[in-house]
């Protein structure tokens, strides 16, 4: 089942094309990765799916959970944001309001989407356990938790709200290697257990080769190559993709993708 479907998306600021994506679909349980160097339009593509790109001309169609993101009313969009599609950002602590305890933030987010009382308690406990955090973390402020904990909390928030797609914008690049592994492990488990779909934006090809089913390679706003991850990594057609792959130190886990 296709949850997100993007066709002929073109984001421009004046004459400059920020992102040009002919086709991008995310189905239930699938992990699609958008790779490319910084400034290649990856993040813009993510934000446009939530209808959060401002000050730019957008053409094409973006459909998420049966809603046309470009024409939907604000309130309709707010129902999808968070509850259906959650965003996990690059620097996890910066993504949390420093004046709110994590628990308060989670409770308010749930309330905003109509979940309160015992149900909210239940979902909170479940989500916190799912990402392998201690419940005590809910009494902390964002600056009192580590980067890995904050990132897992961001995932817990998405889970508690019942998000079916997680848009992950460089979710591990601000974390150190062991913590990256934690976050990746949680993401993989959630995909397997919950059928969660992930749209991953990353320049970390090692990460992408481990988790992604399909890959889009972007450069200077354009999609230069796309296809099943195994195929793209084994037989890159575009010279830029080859360059990217050649630059990656080979990890043992990546072998699985290549065979």
């Amino acid at each position: 089942m296709t949850l997100i479907s993007v066709r002929d998306l073109r984001v421009r600021i004046g004459e400059r094309v920020i992102a040009d994506v002919p086709e991008l679909d995310v189905a239930r349980g699938e992990c699609v990765a958008v790779v490319g160097e910084s400034g290649s339009g990856k993040s813009t593509t993510l934000l446009s799916i939530l209808g959060l790109v401002e000050g730019a001309q957008i053409s094409g169609s973006i459909e998420a959970f049966g809603v046309d993101v470009r024409t939907a009313s604000r309130s309709r969009l707010r129902e999808i944001r968070g509850a259906k599609i959650a965003l996990v950002m690059q620097s996890p602590q910066a993504a949390l309001n420093p004046t709110l305890r994590l628990g308060t933030l989670l409770r308010r987010a749930l309330k905003r989407h109509g979940v309160a009382g015992a149900e909210a308690e239940r979902r909170t406990a479940q989500a916190v356990a799912d990402v392998m955090l201690e419940p005590a973390i809910l009494r902390r402020y964002p600056h009192e938790v580590s980067g890995g904990q904050a990132q897992r909390f961001a995932l817990a928030l998405a889970l508690a709200l019942g998000a079916e797609v997680i848009l992950a914008d460089e979710p591990t690049s601000a974390l150190d290697v062991t913590v990256q592994a934690e976050v990746v492990a949680v993401l993989r488990r959630l995909r397997a257990e919950r059928g969660l779909a992930v749209l991953l934006v990353s320049h970390d090809l090692a990460l992408v080769s481990i988790v992604a089913d399909r890959v889009l390679v972007m450069r200077e706003g354009r999609v230069v190559e796309s296809g099943p991850a195994a195929e793209v990594f084994a037989r890159p057609r575009d010279p830029y993709t080859r360059e990217l792959i050649a630059a990656v130190p080979v990890l043992p886990e990546a072998d699985r993708v290549h065979d």
Binding site: L50, A86, Q90, A95, N97, E144, L157
Partner: protein, 278 residues
């Protein structure tokens, strides 16, 4: 809260002293009717211009009123003016500022240009003009000072709100489907408030000075209201002969303004949540 106080007492003695002085002044304000040695307005010409002594610690003024009593009641007027002015100008300035900072674009431009127009007038001059147009009274002082003070809050808040609005957590609130008004008041405002609170505390001293100046010029509080600026005005002619009539209210103004300033500086360091050790 108590932990923060302990920290303040240990790390910033000056700010702590300011706080203690302000608490004492607040107490004096509340308890004036009980702790003042004489009634607020009780002229006794027989006792006019008595020097400081056992009967009248700070002496008496030209109509025989106890100066200490007048200062205690005057604290009520001054603090009332300061608090009302701060509340009024902050309510207007902070609201406009945070909206301007979050909205950006033409909304920000319109709000900031109006703010600039108000800032273009020298504050005391605009207050004077307003006080002349309106009837001289305490209310006039509050309105006049607020009219010249709110643009500063609008500006400070807008600057802070602009930078806060670009933070990732504001984006993530939008990504969670939080409507704009809630984002502005729950996510942007609390994080943009630190410079405003510091500014408020620093300004309280300035407002007390301005209020005293307006009353001194006869445009603010009127007899028989006890007000420090008014007392200074009435006592200055007597400075060479009866120094106490002008000196004690002058000191009251000085100490209060000073206390607010040191507290403001101290607040700057403790209000940043990231610097608070738990």
């Amino acid at each position: 809260m108590t932990a923060a106080l302990h920290r303040l007492a240990r790390t910033d003695r000056l700010a702590f002293a300011g706080l203690v002085i302000l608490v004492l002044i607040m107490l004096a304000t509340l308890l004036a009717p009980w702790i003042a040695p004489y009634p607020a307005d009780d002229p006794r010409p027989v006792d006019a211009l008595l020097p400081p002594g056992a009967e009248h610690w700070f002496g008496t003024d030209q109509v025989g009123r106890d100066v200490l009593t007048r200062i205690l009641y005057g604290a009520r007027t001054s603090l009332f003016i300061a608090v009302s002015t701060l509340a009024l100008s902050a309510a207007v300035g902070v609201t406009l500022g945070v909206v301007a900072g979050y909205a950006g674009g033409w909304i920000r431009d319109v709000i900031m240009r109006v703010t600039d127009v108000f800032l273009a007038f020298p504050a005391l001059l605009l207050s004077l003009a307003l006080a002349v147009v309106l009837r001289p009274s305490v209310t006039t002082v509050i309105i006049a000072i607020s009219a010249t003070w709110w643009p500063w809050y609008a500006r400070v808040t807008a600057a802070a709100a602009t930078s806060v609005s670009a933070r990732a957590y504001v984006d993530s609130a939008r990504c969670l489907g939080v409507p704009a008004p809630l984002i502005v008041f729950r996510h942007v405002l609390p994080n943009a408030l630190t410079p405003v609170l510091v500014q408020l505390s620093l300004d309280a001293g300035g407002i007390i000075l301005t209020a005293a100046a307006l009353s001194y010029l006869g445009l603010g509080a009127q007899e028989p209201t006890a007000e420090w600026g008014l007392m200074v005005e009435q006592g200055q002619a007597l400075f060479t002969t009866d120094w106490w009539v002008v000196t004690f209210p002058g000191l009251a103004i000085l100490i209060t303004a000073f206390a607010f300033n040191t507290l403001g500086e101290g607040l700057r360091s403790i209000l940043d949540p990231r610097r608070t050790v738990r």
